[in-house]
Amino acid sequence: DAGITQSPRYKITETGRQVTLMCHQTWSHSYMFWYRQDLGHGLRLIYYSAAADITDKGEVPDGYVVSRSKTENFPLTLESATRSQTSVYFCASSGSHSPGATNEKLFFGSGTQLSVL
């Protein structure tokens, strides 16, 4: 099915391990985003990408690495997982960032629930 898919759906890991969360979209959207969602904080932007090979930091980038070699994929890597990175991670995409553009709507994946023990 077309859309935005995240994998895995659930992940348990240990502190210090490297973890990669995958995100794939089939719309050829230019923009892709990674958010984390925590109680009391809501959704916070980790990193975003305006196009292939262009990435930029969001509000909470520390401890995370992203890459965007292909338009459709935007993996998020936790280089050395910590307990504070236990969260639900959402990937999103949009076709534009210009207010008023018809394709500026954010489409979210179903999320990856990550537990760091």
């Binding site: 809501g42 916070r44 975003y48 930029d56 949009s94 960032h97 500026e104 179903s110 999320g111």
Partner: protein, 110 residues
């Protein structure tokens, strides 16, 4: 202080009630105002968006923005049990760096 503040609730109302969900924002330059709905264990989905002060209606939903007081509201008329979800307001200069509220959990009971 977060740039977008939202009462987390939870809010519990009977079916058919009018629901009012509210947010405030602090950056007067924000011109993009959105409401997302998130069902349990799902990603948020866009419900409504607006770029200007005033009201915007879509069926049972009305989004209202008051830029003078930096206030964002979502009204749900004739609420249904299927409206039970978490509602997230969001604001920003554009979708590159939207700031989300913490979300208000709404339960509509039959």
């Amino acid at each position: 202080q977060k740039e977008v503040e939202q009462d987390p609730g939870p809010l519990s109302v009977p079916e058919g009630a009018i629901v009012s969900l509210n947010c405030t924002y602090s950056n007067s330059a924000f011109q993009y105002f959105m409401w997302y709905r998130q069902y349990s264990r799902k990603g948020p989905e866009l419900l409504m968006y607006t770029y200007s002060s005033g009201n915007k209606e879509d069926g049972r939903f009305t989004a209202q923005v008051d830029k003078s007081s930096k206030y964002i509201s979502l009204f749900i008329r004739d609420s249904q049990p299927s409206d039970s979800a978490t509602y997230l307001c969001a604001s920003g200069l554009n979708t590159d760096k939207l700031i989300f509220g913490t979300g208000t959990r709404l339960q509509v009971f039959p």
